[in-house]
């Protein structure tokens, strides 16, 4: 019997410098992680694209004087009741992620919408957070496709 506890592979998190060089790092981390989770290749590209755009926005809109500013990224894999799998990704910029007059929009946001099922942006005094939910992918073959009662 598999343990019902979430496996350490279900979660990743990282703190990145608010600098364009961080983008290839976050793309590589997500590619590796989704590879471990046996995510389908096309959906890996979608998640990587969306995360890249969200982190790009955080990097681009971090105030240039904010030396040492960071972007925090965390993601979790979870199962739907029907056994389908998704990842949810949070991208958070600190207080130096300057708000834009018309909010976060433009090609980056369009791209995220095309790659993910939903996106939520929340702005607080101490920063902006984007929450991205991936498309649902099929359960892994050979595993129980969901149980009627959660053991948690």
């Amino acid at each position: 019997m598999e343990s019902p506890l979430p496996s350490p592979d279900d979660v990743i998190s990282m703190v990145l410098m608010a600098d364009p060089v961080s983008l290839s790092v976050v793309r590589e981390r997500f590619r590796r992680w989704l590879g471990v989770l046996c995510w389908p290749a096309g959906e890996v590209d979608d998640v990587v694209m969306a995360v890249n755009e969200a982190v790009s926005s955080a990097v681009e809109h971090t105030h240039p004087s904010a030396i040492g500013a960071e972007v925090r990224v965390a993601a979790r894999r979870y199962d739907e009741p029907d056994g389908g799998r998704r990842v949810i990704v949070a991208v958070a910029g600190g207080e130096h992620w300057t708000p834009e007059p018309h909010g976060f929009e433009g090609p980056g946001l369009l791209m995220i919408h095309s790659c993910m099922d939903s996106i939520e942006v929340s702005r607080e005094a101490d920063g902006t957070t984007m929450l991205l939910t991936s498309a649902k992918v099929p359960p892994l073959r050979g595993t129980d496709p969901g149980q009627p009662f959660s053991s948690r």
Partner: protein
């Protein structure tokens, strides 16, 4: 690999651009990943090629590109527009089986850019 950027590859490693000249046409062969960190270099190389091409097409070979962000798409459109202004058409070569075509289609840029499957097709057009 523990530099100030925690082992991130340098922008030079992430994307390379080689210039080639065939039948009097400038070809830029791009390999790697086009994002916020590398796009500036591609924009510079593309602009320079368009300026120098003397009204001949410039071919941008992206078949070796593994990743193209929305910022990369923005610069493709900017180069395309510059090319029209200069009378040096930009011809973009994309492998239709690789991930790069997808963001191009998502943003509807397959209707805007002049896309080709191979460098030979782009040169013959």
């Amino acid at each position: 690999m523990n530099g100030p950027f925690g082992g991130a590859p340098s922008a030079e490693q992430l994307m390379t651009i080689e210039r080639d000249d065939r039948d009097g046409c400038l070809i830029l062969v791009v390999q790697g990943e086009v994002d916020l960190s590398t796009g500036g270099r591609l924009m510079e190389a593309g602009s320079a090629a368009l300026q120098e091409s003397a009204h001949r097409p410039v071919v941008l070979d992206l078949t070796g590109v593994d990743f193209l962000s929305s910022s990369g798409l923005g610069l493709l459109v900017a180069l395309h527009d510059d090319g029209r202004e200069l009378g040096a058409p930009l011809r973009v070569v994309v492998d239709p089986t690789r991930p790069v075509i997808r963001p191009i289609r998502t943003m509807g840029l397959d209707e805007v850019l002049s896309l080709f499957r191979t460098v030979d097709e782009a040169l013959a057009a």
